[in-house]
Amino acid sequence: MALEILSKYDRQIIFLVVLILTFMPAFYPIGLPLPQYFLTNKVYDAINSLKPGDLVLISFDFAPGVWVELGIAMKDIMQHLFIKRARIVIIAFDPNGPALAHRVLNEIDLKGAVYGKDYVVLGYIPGFEAGMAAFVSNPKMFTVDYYGNPTADMPIMNAFNTIGDFKMYIFACYTWVDPWMRQFSGKIDIIIGVLSADIVPQVMPYINTGQLYSLIRGSRGAAEYEQLLGIKGEATAFMDAASLTVSLGVILTIVANYGYLKKKLGGRR
């Protein structure tokens, strides 16, 4: 009887366990340790060695749904860039990008940077890969920025003429990196990907060949970055629950196979 109910509601029970494991650390933080990943350190060192006034190109290429995975990481990185007083040009190849950039800029400490002089949000470039190609061939394609102001009299717009004038390019994406690699690799020395953790396995070839300088793997990378920056940010708070719930995946694999193999072997007998 009890087993019947259990097997009828097996999905709901799994969901319930997931929810419990997710909520538990939110009420009672545990503070499990977090080992550093060498690629995160590489990003930190690269940004740390920037000089004040160096030009950095950033593109926000994700949807609001992925905010937790990429938005927090972008917040940490942008915060670091503003601390290093780099000059920042923000573009987007996803229609949602400008709104998200706006949100990041609102939530971080700008350290007195002035819009138009130290940073600018140029807005959405449509056409995805075609848009990237267009921007690479002419980075000054914009006549108005995201907010509708003319860009001609902005000091930052006169600081660069070609794509090679940028010291570093940081992009945040959650789909696949091939278009970015095709269009930007070789054009800018240091390309850093802020990528959601699920696509990291398929990106390793690019790290291997050096086309991609380094990467931040989603919120895990953000938590590591926060450790490096020495702040207790949003991503750090999530790591306990991540450890617990992902462990559930390992346990479920064992449970599922235990039941399956038992049934299979039992059936044979």
Binding site: V68, G123, D198, P201, Q202, T209, G218, E234, A237
Partner: protein
């Protein structure tokens, strides 16, 4: 005021969406159409403002020839008339042609040559362990390419090669699956952290009461 109201609205909406975990119900349907409705509203807005930037403003500033893509774009709407439907194919063909041109132009230098170049690593610069790994990766790559052969049966030595390809593909896919599990998990965690805060956490109690009530009523019936 809005510091209390907004989290309550968002908390309610989140729980409405999550109610599907228990079973299909009207609260979930409302969350569902809100997603579609807001999504459509935003898409409309961003498309119109994009059109304004890339088409309308340049058109006003004297680029008269931009009227042609607009007409071609409008031809897409002939799909609703049986008689003039063929006109919509003109625009479709242009969109598809430019897209395939992009894909094909990069297929060889980036997707084939670029990947093959990765196989060229000087043996002398590798340690014994790295060399072994390099050889395994190369065999995995060649095996995977060979796996997609369709005109030759996978038998004999060729079958062995394709099997290695298939297994290494399975390792690759499995690793992506594992990584994705983590990546997806983070969203739930963020929502849970939000729902655990003060005014919203009261909603959790209401949600539990709802489920208990539903279980009880359904049992009685």
């Amino acid at each position: 005021m809005s510091e209390v109201i907004t989290p309550l609205i968002v908390g309610t909406l989140t729980l409405m969406a999550w109610s599907l975990l228990y079973r299909e119900n009207v609260f979930y349907r409302i969350a569902e159409v809100l997603m579609v409705g807001f999504g459509m509203g935003y898409t409309l807005y961003i498309s119109l403002s994009t059109l304004n930037r890339v088409w309308f403003q340049p058109l006003l500033s004297g680029k008269w020839w931009l009227i042609i893509p607009a007409i071609l774009g409008l031809l897409l709407y002939t799909i609703y008339s049986r008689r003039y439907m063929f006109l919509s194919r003109w625009a479709m063909a242009a969109i598809a042609g430019a897209g395939s041109g992009y894909a094909v132009s990069r297929a060889i230098p980036v997707m084939i040559i670029g990947q093959i170049e990765g196989l060229a690593v000087k043996f002398s610069e590798l340690s014994a362990l790295d060399l072994a790994n390099h050889i395994i990766a190369t065999i995995a790559c060649i095996g995977t390419v060979a796996y997609f052969t369709f005109t030759k049966e996978h038998k004999g030595w060729f079958g062995g090669l394709t099997r290695i390809g298939r297994w290494s593909m399975m390792l690759a896919f499995g690793s992506t699956f594992g990584a994705t599990l983590y990546a997806n998990q983070i969203f739930t965690i963020e929502r849970a952290a939000f729902l655990a805060k003060y005014p919203q956490n009261l909603l959790l109690i209401i949600a539990v009461l709802f489920i208990v009530y539903d279980l009880f009523i359904r049992k009685k019936r």
